[in-house]
Amino acid sequence: MAARRKITLDRRKVVGQLLKDRGDLLLVTGLGAPTWDAAAVGDHPNNFYLWGGMGGAVLTGLGLALAQPKRRVLVMTGDGEMLMGVGGLATVAVQKPSNLAICIIDNQRYGETGMQETHTAHGVDLPAMAAGAGFQTALTVYTAKELSAAIPVLHSQPGPVFIDIKVTDSPQSMTLPPRDGPTLKHRFRENLLGQI
């Protein structure tokens, strides 16, 4: 189980740093706060936001990574969303997509529904689960220094990589990206494929 360390990182700042030099990264976000974070630091046609489908973000990213082997794919989601589809880690590990990175914005809470504690608040160690599933790289980030080291891993180390970033549960302003599914889909495909 994960050692308890002090959690100080602010999720918005983390996501801002993560996406600052995103290049042609394709981003899939899990429902709830990770989606608002991505929108807050800058909406982008290469972002595909899930507004539902809880438990499905990692597998959406897997399908995309398999279809676009030359592009880096980042899945950014919450601890609660990840736990709901945690078997997906085994499925990803068996596929070994070298272009897929998974990043958990882990506030140990179901932020959207009233800040109830998730299992990560009680010792469940997601990176250790990912390692058990077969991820060669599975890390936990607590500090700004660890974050700086993790960013290149997320962007360019051969995947699949899994990084759990512990963030505080302080409330954030809400920035809502487009929520119409067909619009998001068309925008994403048009930018990626030149067709819808």
């Binding site: 945690v86 499925t91 068996v94």
Partner: protein, 199 residues
Amino acid sequence: MAVKSKTPYTLQRRKVVQRILEDRGDAAVVTGIGNAVHDVASANDDPKNMYLAGIMGGAAMVAFGVALAQPKRRILVITGDGELLAGIGSLATIGVEQPKNLSIIVIDNQAYGATGNQHTHTGRGVDLVGIAAASGFKKTALITTEAELEAELPRIHNQPGPYFAVVKVVSKTSPRINAPKDGTYVSRRFRAAVTGESA
């Protein structure tokens, strides 16, 4: 893709389950769908067995519910690797709750034996023991030999849990036996046996 290459494992699932159940005492047993049902029914058809012949992914949580309701009794889950994988998040839920009287035994043939021996993830790098430990299971074991099985038996039955073991077995189809499959019958029989109330 069916499993063709032989795994290096030698334990026979029927014998393993038989051996575990010899020492069950008054434990209740919940089986997952698949060959585990037949393993348990052929070894020891006891009223304190709940055979799940459906709900792939649900065995551990059914047993967890029993463990909460019957805190003085040992509850054993005997299930397959595919079944466990289908509900793997349950390990985290159980790891958080820390039921002391629950043991999960995965009979791991690295295949979906009941549907034609297609590969499961466990033969391709997925380490269920590691995932259980990461989920907060206090005691875990990987069992590949008879000696290891003998050494783990006291822990399976008595170690304050939650306890989790994977037993690697040969991937060979064993005959199905006529396990009682009427859910209403099996569940009433089970409930009467563990609560002492009439069915």
